[in-house]
């Protein structure tokens, strides 16, 4: 049975459940896709592991209970609902007037994400040939490239959310192109990659040649790069690193399930200053065409933009259904699951710093000694302690207002989040959003996110 065809069955199931429990809902999702990977020595065409199933949710008055299955027959879903009701009865059902999930306004709507060319309309031979041609041509860019991989990956997500007031269906297609080169010189490896992921189809297949060229040149420098002397420096974060900074600094720290667990210091700083006055930060799943976008979250909240930091003041958290209900906070469209078989948590979507008015040249111009830090590779949050870790491929030295060719690798940025945010003195005038990221809740529960920002000038501890 297709996900879209489950509307009536799921609606009937949750209405049946609500005869005994205060609230019930259902989420069904399927993910399909293909990945074409062509390297210098190997190639593969793989079908993405499909995830297709349904989760029924019931609220007992104090506890959320869920039952998931990937057997999508009427009999199986009815059995699933019966098992869930049985579990609720065992847990104990109460009707507390102060603790009832809001089912939202009545709406029944289907949504379709952007896509110009359906990847399935392109013969597989053509996709493989195009990746092969790209791999071969990019390999000629440098004799230091020992393996040049081009990856095309596309995915289709069908998602259905049903509660007593809502029946929402969305179809989201996304495309990802990655170019990944292994550079080697004198027994030393240096991997470099570039690419993007967006909502859409085959029209997004062409890798950005300028982006690859920039990455390659950086990689060639990094083959001979040294280690930085640890210390606190005047820094410029690239838009990609600014994005990771936004995500780790005040993205995770504003996910309000963390407030509920008293794990986020941000809970005590709502409506207080946490950053320099010029800093504006958003989480926006309604951002058109971006890979972390959607029309409704996995708990049925329609997409809209949420401003997290306004003029340096922390103004909003990102909520899921449970934390919004218990904390009496506004629901934002951030209740997300890794798949139908995973729990919904408060999660980020597209998180970014807004642009300012400064150019990169102006930022570099008055730095006596500092670094441009670029190519983020990893990051980790610490919402309770407001520590931060950002890892980047390199820092490029700035001396007397000019970029030098002195590169240092790898780089780790650590510090106290408010210190970093308050040290921002210049904000670039161009926004760039990176689409390759995935985000875990701690160390699991992976969802697609993007992050971005402009160049930022600030002080940071590098090692």
């Amino acid at each position: 049975m297709e996900i879209k065809d489950l509307k009536k069955l799921l609606k009937d199931s949750i209405l049946e459940l609500e005869k005994e429990v205060p609230y019930a809902s259902a989420f069904a999702g399927s993910v399909t896709g293909r990945s074409i990977r062509v390297g210098t020595y190997e190639k593969s065409v793989q079908f993405q592991e499909p995830s297709k199933g349904v989760t029924l949710t019931a609220f007992t008055g104090s506890t959320f209970m869920e039952q998931s299955t990937n057997i999508l027959t009427e009999e199986s879903i009815k059995k699933c609902a019966a098992a869930l009701l049985d579990a609720c009865r065992k847990e104990g059902i109460t009707f507390q007037s102060n603790l009832v999930p809001d089912p939202g306004k009545k709406i029944e709507q289907d949504f379709q994400g952007p896509m110009e060319i359906d990847p399935y309309s392109i013969p597989l031979e053509e996709l493989v040939a195009r990746a092969q041609e790209k791999s071969d041509s990019l390999k000629t860019k440098s004799d230091k490239i020992v393996n040049m991989m081009v990856i095309f990956s596309h995915e289709q997500r069908d998602e259905l959310y049903v509660n007593r007031n809502k029946t929402l269906f969305q179809k989201l297609n996304s495309w990802m192109t990655i170019t990944y080169a292994i550079l080697q010189d004198k027994g030393k490896n240096m991997p470099v990659y570039s690419g993007d992921s967006r909502l859409g189809g085959y029209e997004l297949a062409e890798p950005d040649p300028a982006e690859f060229e920039r990455t390659l040149q950086d990689g060639l420098h990094l083959l001979h790069a040294g280690r930085i002397t640890p210390g606190t420096y005047d820094c410029i974060f690239s838009p990609e690193l600014s994005g990771m900074f936004a995500h780790e600094a005040f993205g995770h720290g504003t996910e309000t399930d963390m407030y509920l667990k008293e794990r986020a210091k941000g809970a005590h700083y709502l409506n207080k200053k946490v950053a320099a006055k010029a800093v504006q930060m958003f989480d926006n799943p309604a951002y058109e065409g971006i890979a972390g976008s959607f029309f409704f979250d996995h708990e049925g909240k329609l997409s809209e933009n949420t401003q997290i930091i306004k003029d340096g003041i922390l103004v909003s958290g990102l909520t899921d259904l449970n934390s919004a209900m218990r904390l009496k906070m506004k629901r934002t469209p951030n209740g997300r699951r890794e798949s139908y078989s995973h729990k919904a948590y408060a999660r980020m979507t597209n998180t970014y710093f807004q642009t300012g008015h400064d150019t990169l040249d102006a930022m570099i111009k008055d730095i006596k000694h500092g670094f441009l830090v670029d190519h983020p590779t990893n990051g980790m949050e610490d919402p309770k302690g407001w520590g931060i870790q950002l890892e980047a491929m390199y820092a490029r030295e700035i001396k007397d207002g000019k970029l030098t060719d002195n590169y240092f690798t790898p780089i780790i940025v650590t510090g106290y989040v408010p210190d970093l945010l308050n040290s921002i003195t210049m904000i670039g005038n161009e926004l760039k959003i990176s689409g390759l990221g995935m985000c875990g809740k701690g160390w699991k529960e992976w969802v697609k996110v993007t992050d971005g920002g402009p160049y930022l000038r600030l002080k940071a501890r590098l090692a």
Binding site: F47, M190, G231, K261, K265, T414
Partner: protein, 433 residues
Amino acid sequence: MKEKIISLLKAHKEIGSWDLTVNREERDELYLIFDTVEQKRRIEEILYHVEVLVHKEKEGKRFTGSARFQALPGESEQEIRQKIDDAILAASLALNPYYDYDEFIPAKEKSETCDPLIRSDRARAMDDMKEKIFAMMKENRDVRLASAEIFLTLTRQERFNSKGLSHTSEKSEALLEAVFLTGTGENEVESVLTREERFIKNIDLENVMQKYMGFARDNLKAQLPKTGKYDVIFTEEALDEFFDFYTSQLNASMKFNKMSVFNPGDAITHEFSGDKLSLSFNPRIPGGYRSMDYDRYGTLAQRTQVIEDGIVKRFAADRKYATYLEMPCTGSPGNTEVKCGTRSLSDLETEGTYVLSRFSTFSPNPLTGAFSGEIRNGYVIKDGKRIPVKGGSVTGMMKEAMSRVFFSSEEVIRRDYKGPEYIKVLQVDIAGE
């Protein structure tokens, strides 16, 4: 359904070889916020994983293409037939050098991969863990449990392939995440415990909780470490990925793709002033997260030593890459097993040494060996006392670290690692105060 899939695979003339893995997974999840149950979940899934190999000959050379797909319960014969046809096309378009699955050899013994209680009574296992957690919290009133997540999973697996493999196995997983808070107001701090093991007993619940509640208490008074080069003992979570550079570099797939800088006979570092690393892959460790009976190519799992006394002995080569590189097939890598040293922790804990247990992340780059991590928990030995530290970071290169390393005599098993519980590296860069 499996019979239907097998008969369709057998009947297809273009398929050279095939493999079918049927996973029946049952998972129970419990979510606690403080002492209340936030959510309970039960998941039941059946997945049919299929791989087909297509062999072709062109200009006297043999090639193999592979493609994997998954069938879902309830799919019709027509849908499965279509998926097989799609997989054959995909495999035919991605031809690589020839290889094939291993001929079936019956396993004399099965690897121990299933916790008996998770197999027989997950509800009781879940209750036991929850009650132990609550009991521990009652005994430690200065620490609060902010949240906990317990997942218990049982997977019953059946495997079949065209070389005669017909094998059943059971795997369990016990996952615990617990967050402890201590202190008050602005000074409240947390410690996050995450463990994922095949056997509940390997989590060692009471001891590990005691340790992580201790980390929370330490964080109340922890200082930023000093900037400079210091001797560092890595332990606890840092062990999980400590050897990733070598385990990746000595995988034959990396060699074939020109990503490995090593050859058999190479020293793993330029000079040694400490212990010499001996590292094996062992897929037979009871309860090891990467323990198995057969790998994906149908090769019987066996222990393989890849580094002996600091010298590369061989690559871990599964059937595919062993064929490509014309080297002996060792099977896919299993758990990482490292030989212990002769010094105890007390020998290693010299004045000025940092002992670091937890990092935000600590993942040596598999291609460059660069490692870095923000320090979440640790202590420094000062005047013979353990002074808690947190914040700041360590950075380095694994090849340099291995030239001045000492392994403890104490051994630990955690997830897919068996080896020294403490690893001391001399002169590591720390960035802090």
